[in-house]
């Protein structure tokens, strides 16, 4: 039992520096899809390993029986002690048992927290999207310059989509004035790619994680990294239909018009938009086949190893 717990703990702990390294790596811009896969594997692997390690520590070996029964028995004991109000009382004899119960409780809390933040984030997103659609149906109108999109009469430059089963693409009147016909077409191609490939579902777990661990720098970096990768994916899709130049100038114009966030700790080099523009104008070759295979294998192992140890030990 103990080696399994140690390996799970090592995987969980290792995911944090791995996430930091991936967030500062330069290669993800060359193959955004592969990088997203790796991010997902890190997230899922960390969740499995962390919950598994805590549960494994709690189940212990020997007397409690280990395995499923051990975890369940320990969890039941946590519950009954909590009911009787004597949980975690550290008497000399009961110390070890209490410590194990603490680990099981921590594992359960983490598992419930992870499930809960996902559900909460998803319902919040659904509510916000319904409000958007309701408002748009009252306020927005079509325009021949942007077929298939809705126009909101406001001078600020905004372009976005509301993903979902009843999706919408929205362009503000300010954007309509700012961009020429070709640039508008590039923006529409970019937004359509988001909708078709449901990039919002890729980003959702990372946003949920960030909402649960607001204090965590790693969670924040993971969310920003995945958000940028998803934009790159949509940029790449738009490039199949439109020249790079149109998308690049559209990005620069909308970005240059949008200075509403007070500049503080944010980068002064143009940030995400500049990264995307540089990528469009000076495209780097995608990862080589062996490198892609390495990324995919790493991603597979990150999920398979904790999953296998969970399966074997319980």
């Amino acid at each position: 039992m103990f080696p399994a717990v140690l390996i799970l703990a090592a995987v969980a702990a290792g995911c944090v520096p791995a996430a930091s390294a991936l967030a500062s790596a330069r290669w993800p811009g060359r193959s955004p899809a592969a990088a997203i896969l790796l991010w997902q594997a890190i997230g899922l692997g960390w969740g499995l390993a962390a919950v598994g390690a805590l549960a494994g520590l709690g189940a212990g070996r020997g007397q409690a029986g280990g395995g499923h029964a051990g975890v369940v028995r320990a969890a039941l004991e946590v519950a009954s002690r909590a009911v009787r109000g004597t949980a975690f009382r550290a008497r000399a004899a009961g110390l070890l048992v209490d410590l194990r119960l603490f680990f099981v409780a921590a594992g359960l809390v983490l598992l419930l927290l992870l499930c809960w933040v996902l559900v909460a984030a998803f319902t919040a997103v659904l509510r916000a999207r319904r409000r958007q659609r309701d408002l748009l149906s009252l306020l927005a109108h079509g325009d021949p310059k942007v077929p298939g999109a809705l126009v909101v009469d406001h001078p600020a430059a905004a372009a976005y989509c509301v993903p979902g089963l009843r999706s919408r693409i929205v362009i503000s009147a300010g954007t309509l004035k700012l961009l020429d016909q070709a640039e508008l077409a590039a923006v529409l191609a970019h937004e359509r790619a988001h909708l078709r490939e449901r990039h919002d579902l890729v980003l959702l777990p990372f946003t949920a994680l960030l909402r649960a661990f607001r204090w965590s720098a790693v969670a924040r970096r993971a969310e920003s990294a995945v958000a940028l990768l998803v934009e790159m994916l949509a940029d790449d899709h738009a490039l199949r239909h439109r020249p790079a130049r149109e998308l690049a100038t559209a990005l620069l114009r909308v970005g240059a018009a949008g200075s509403r966030v007070p500049s503080g700790a944010l980068a002064a080099d143009g940030g995400e938009v500049a990264v995307r523009v540089a990528r469009l104008l000076r495209p780097a070759p995608g990862l080589s086949a062996p490198a892609l295979a390495l990324v995919c294998c790493t991603a597979g192992l990150l999920v398979a190893v904790p999953a296998a140890f969970l399966f074997i030990s319980f």
């Binding site: 009252l138 009469d153 959702l204 020249p243």
Partner: protein
Amino acid sequence: MNRLGELERAIMDVLWETPEPLTVRQVSGQLTARDLAHTTVMTVLDRLAKKGFARRERDGRAWRYRAAETREAYVTELMLNALDQTGDRQAALARFVRSVSGAEARALRRALEALEAFEQADPAAWPG
């Protein structure tokens, strides 16, 4: 847009244009071109009230309806969300450009000017 959505929109337009609360009959009266049944208008006004777009108040035996907020307030709400200015980061919308700081915007403006100058000098140099 479906017929119901279209009706909601037409009725909200009537409410937005009139500062004082209107009865169902007054609302129907402003939509004569559509020849709507009284009950249809009442149903749509009820739906709008449920969604929070209209407020209703008793006036004797009739209900009077008015818009909960001005049209401008709703446009502002849409745009604050569109520009990621609500301070609540969630993945509800996918924005073409996420929020940009003042310094970033200046850097992008300079980059755009440089690109355009470059393009004028040598239009063939563009990739794509």
